[in-house]
């Protein structure tokens, strides 16, 4: 590169870096937050629930941090932290076992302090772990089944499949977030660094990874599944059969990498 070209590049990069550092712009298509929001919405749709939430484990603090919520009580919930030693979400996080509870109001204090402080106490809960391999990374909850007093066995099983795929998606998007940061840091270095570095190296450094499918597809899928699931027993079984087969296929494909 000639001096003239590289100084122009550096100037342009500096300007770009300034913009990035002062804005919340996202360089890559989908952030973890967007994905989590779409997962809770999909979960509420699929399970016919009034509300849903995702909490991720913060291991150092022994807490569950609510990252996303859909439906009643959502505003108060996002960003809240729950100690891992209480509550249904805490139990699911610690044991890795899904739990379906209803008539919780009869219990005088099922973590009522937390629920009441968000202004929303659910009548039924289905909580499932989000797992990567043998590690629990978070908890997905769906609340208040719309057309039944509680969540049923088939909901428990579907949650298992759904939760597993959601955890994979979250992990992959978490990696995209890291890539996002790396890209930003890379540009900062490039802007401030060696004038012999060229744009080609930058392109090489980030390879040719392709983004995942748009999250709008997830929404559409959730609606299809929700419709099938509320249609009847045969439709549910057919849907479950397809999902299970797909899930196993994905597991095998995962194992090959």
């Amino acid at each position: 590169m000639t001096d003239g070209k590289s100084s122009t590049l550096r100037t342009q990069l500096r300007a770009l870096v300034d913009v990035l550092q002062t804005s919340t712009a996202i360089l890559l298509p989908h952030s973890t937050r967007e994905l989590l929001d779409s997962i809770v919405e999909a979960a509420a749709t699929i399970f016919g629930a009034r509300a849903a939430s995702i909490a991720l484990i913060r291991e150092q603090e022994n807490t569950l941090e609510f990252m996303s919520a859909y439906g009643a009580g959502r505003e108060e919930l996002v960003g809240r932290k729950l100690q891992i030693d209480r509550g249904i979400a805490g139990f699911v996080a610690l044991t890795g076992q899904a739990l379906a509870i209803s008539d919780v109001e009869q219990d005088p204090r099922f973590d009522r302090d937390f629920a009441a402080s968000t202004g929303y106490v659910p009548g039924s809960i289905l909580a499932a772990p989000l797992e990567r391999g043998d590690r629990v990374v978070g908890v997905l909850e769906v609340l208040d089944k719309v057309d039944a007093p509680g969540f049923a066995m088939h909901d428990l099983e579907l949650m298992g499949i759904f939760g597993r795929q959601a955890a994979i998606a979250i992990e992959q998007t978490g990696m995209l977030d890291q890539l996002n940061r790396l890209l930003r840091d890379g540009l900062v270095e490039l802007a401030n660094g060696d004038e012999h570095l060229g744009i080609d190296q930058l392109v090489d450094a980030f390879g040719d990874g392709s983004p995942g499918p748009p999250v709008t597809e997830l929404r559409a899928m959730a609606q299809h599944i929700g419709r099938l699931y509320s249609a009847g027993e045969h439709e549910r079984q057919a849907c479950m059969g397809v999902l299970e087969t797909l899930s196993r296929y994905l597991d095998q494909r995962q194992a090959l990498h």
């Binding site: 139990f91 044991t95 219990d107 043998d134 066995m153 428990l156 099983e157 027993e233």
Partner: protein
């Protein structure tokens, strides 16, 4: 109806009638546990703790322990839980089920769900070790681990229990994943089947989950003297643990394999004709050989 992975084997369409052959056919519910209250039998509940004052457990709570981990040495230890607590409700729910079936059984709570995430499987293994060393008659395990590095440790513990006459009753994971110790052959593994009668349980001829017991839409004890309605394999295991306690009280000194045989012979889907004649048998009229 679609049910958790293992529970599908206990569906009406999937389960089949079995036959206890030869002298086994003479093992009847009348003989096995009629009249028993579980008196004198010690049942350990390895779980989130048991609330001592919950009405569903009466005065059956005879001891409460808690497992901690020495962080410096990464070694677990078991000490009395003072005061005894259950901050989740799950252990109390399990204890309540056992107490309802075997009202005179003594329940020992071993709290392994701690304040933090570290050393979960290690705590769980330590709680089980304690229960085995204390020679509990029955141990209810509604928890399991999927971590492969713990396969050996839990297998050794399961073997130790088996040879020491400690019967382990373990809930299967809701999904078909590796689950220790519930899937070992020496353990009595249980999944949820439909039905609410605690004495109606099924034997599955295609293990590794061998028994199906009530675990769907059950009303159970929960936090602070309350209750809730719940679904899951973890509430099926205490049903079998309670029945095992009844058997142990009536026939002291049985080995785990003898107990599993008795459970098989008395299952709702075994020797169906004999089960239908149970009321006759309770009056002393017996069918089949009686050696």
């Amino acid at each position: 109806m679609v049910v958790p992975a293992w529970s599908s084997q206990f569906e009406k369409e999937a389960i089949r009638e079995l036959e206890a052959i030869g002298p086994l056919a003479g093992i009847t519910r009348q003989w096995a546990w009629a009249g028993s209250t579980g008196d004198g039998v010690r049942v350990a509940v390895i779980d989130s703790g048991v609330a001592p004052d919950h009405p569903a457990i009466g005065d059956s709570l005879s001891g409460s322990m808690v497992v901690g981990v020495d962080e410096d040495k990464n070694e677990p230890f078991t000490v009395p839980d003072e005061p005894p607590v259950d901050s989740f409700g799950h252990g109390t729910a399990c204890a309540g089920i056992i107490h309802a079936i075997a009202p005179r059984a003594e329940i020992f709570s071993v709290r392994v769900l701690g304040e933090d995430l570290k050393g979960k499987a290690l705590r769980f293994a330590e709680g089980l070790r304690w229960a085995i060393d204390e020679r509990m008659d029955v141990v209810n395990l509604s928890l399991s681990t999927s971590r492969p590095e713990y396969y050996g440790m839990f297998h050794r513990l399961a073997d130790k229990a088996y040879f020491a006459g400690v019967t382990l009753v373990s809930a299967a994971n809701n999904r078909r994943v590796p689950s220790y110790p519930s899937l070992y052959s020496s353990v009595i593994s249980v999944a949820a089947s439909k039905g609410k009668d605690p004495f109606e349980y099924l034997y599955n001829p295609s293990p590794p989950v061998e028994f199906g017991a009530p675990g769907i839409d059950l009303k159970v004890a929960w936090l602070d003297g309350g209750s809730c309605v719940t679904t899951g394999n973890s509430f099926a295991a205490p049903h079998i643990a309670g029945i095992v306690a009844l058997i142990c009280a009536k026939h002291p000194g049985l080995t785990p394999f003898q107990i599993k045989t008795i459970l098989f012979a008395c299952a709702t889907n075994t020797n169906v004709e004999n089960q239908a004649n149970f009321s006759q048998q309770s009056q002393g009229v017996r069918k089949g050989s009686d050696q």
